[in-house]
């Protein structure tokens, strides 16, 4: 397995990957970092409610590069979750378009993995069987033993080895969320969508899981979108933070972080990190203020 460039590709794809790297080297192609995997193009969306129409997104345009990690923050109820549902193909926008890997999203695609604030594990299944659920739905060539191995390996990576046959109700909230992350990643999705997955956890558990997220990313790269209310979480996990304005949401501010990829918790407590936090906080204030005036 060491011969492969990463554990995502098949053998043929892998040689193509090397060829591509070669072309980049000789200057015939642009490097990977520039390639966008998720593209949200001028999307507007309005919900129809009993009291009338509720515009949630307005001319939203943003993109996430391949293997990048983007955090989306914004005032409460500004339409952040709508963004995740649009990217997952669970919702169709009123106007504009969403692209994944250069293909327009028209319906759910199985290259997406999702985790929510509620871990939504199935109580009647063991942790292992819960993690294996996507493999039962997404077409794949894995044999039953390989599926189990894959799930076990992931569980071990997040520190849940030995809990495979427990029921979700026997685990703590943090452990359940870890299992939920494993389930989101088990079918090796290109895109991982996290909708406030750590929101309901205590501070220490949350920090543990942040580090696990970096480990998972290092182990098998994916493109991540994180919805969060926690600015520290955003700057610790993401490569870029996008601040959405109040409803109807549009991109108000974007901050590329100097730290990319894995980093240690200590780096959250530096002067630079604090300055970034202050900038983001100021942007959230502006977004909220604008919304109040609008209302």
């Amino acid at each position: 397995m060491e011969a492969f460039c990463c554990n995502k590709h098949s053998k043929t794809k892998c040689s193509l990957h090397f060829l591509r790297l070669h072309f980049i080297w000789v200057g015939l192609m642009t490097p990977d970092e520039e390639k966008e995997l998720i593209r949200i193009d001028n999307v507007s969306h309005t919900f129809n409610t009993i009291t009338g129409t509720l515009p949630v997104l307005k001319n939203l345009t943003l993109s996430v590069p391949e293997n990048g990690f983007t955090a989306i923050v914004g005032p409460s109820g500004c339409g952040k979750s709508t963004v995740t549902r649009l990217v997952a193909g669970l919702l169709k926008p009123n106007s504009g378009s969403i692209w994944l890997q250069g293909q327009k999203v028209l319906s759910p695609r199985n290259i997406v993995g999702m985790a929510f604030q509620n871990p939504v594990l199935l109580e009647w299944r063991s942790i292992l069987k819960n993690v294996m659920l996507p493999l039962e739905i997404v077409p794949n060539s894995l044999s039953p033993t390989n599926r189990e191995e894959r799930a076990r390996a992931l569980l071990k990576l997040v520190g849940l080895a030995g809990f495979e046959h427990k029921r979700p109700s026997e685990l703590s909230g943090g452990m359940r969320q870890r299992a939920s992350l494993c389930r989101a990643l088990v079918h090796r999705p290109e895109v991982l969508i996290l909708d406030e997955p750590f929101g309901a956890l205590d501070a220490f558990t949350r920090e543990d899981l942040w580090q696990i997220m970096h480990q998972l990313r290092a182990e098998e790269p994916f493109t991540g979108v994180l919805i969060t209310h926690d600015l520290r979480e955003a700057i610790f996990l993401a490569d870029e933070v996008i601040v959405l304005s109040g409803r109807p949401a549009t991109v108000q501010f974007r901050q590329k972080l100097t730290q990319q990829g894995a980093r240690s918790l200590d780096q959250l407590y530096t002067r630079e990190a604090n300055e970034t936090l202050l900038v983001l906080r100021e942007q959230i204030k502006i977004a909220r203020h604008a919304e109040e005036i609008g209302a």
Partner: protein
Amino acid sequence: MRQIVAPAFAIILFLMFWEVLVWLNDWPDYKMASPSDLWPAFWRFKWLFFTFGWETLWRTVVGLVIAIIVGVTFGMVMGFSRVVRDGLYPLLVGFNAIPKATVVPIVALMFVGQHDLNTILIAFMISFFPIAVSVSIGLSTLEPEYRDILRALGASRLTIFWKIALPKTLPEFFGALKVAVTLAFIGTNLMEIVSPHGRGLGALFDSGKTNSDYPLMFAVLIALAILGIALYYVVVLLERIFASWAERQAE
């Protein structure tokens, strides 16, 4: 051990209290039979008890099975479609609100002579409502995230139903089935008592009444109680097999 001894003790205590009560008040058996009168009454008609007990049992079970099939179907349709739920709910509530004792003579006249059909029909009518309601509530209160997890992977509606909606509704379903099993039993007996030339334990009860054989009437009540307990625990057993995950283990 405790699970056998405690209920057995409670039953013995209850029978003793009953016996003493009758003895202290010096009630004649036409006012209230005492437990010691019951065994002779049972023994005298023991074959009738077994054959009629069987009649009552199988009709109740068949009525219940039909109630499960129809109830689950209604529940599924109402659980998945808001329009159908809003449309059918008042009708079902009204149907359920009619005391079944008033429907019994109508059905008995409608299908006169077809005693099995009548009895099964009433057992079904009385017991399908709680099943339909619980299944529809179980399905309609499924958190959207559960559906999204599978939908995001491109799962079909059928897969979502089979993998998530159905197992998630099982605890509610069994809860309703426990109620339904007792109701179906009531339905069967209502018909057996009312219907002329009926069979089953209800008919035996009725003949006890016509012959002023009060110990027999009480013996039938006890037989009904035993059958009811047996049916109830069959449901509990099924629940243990299919939905044991819903029980929290005591630490």
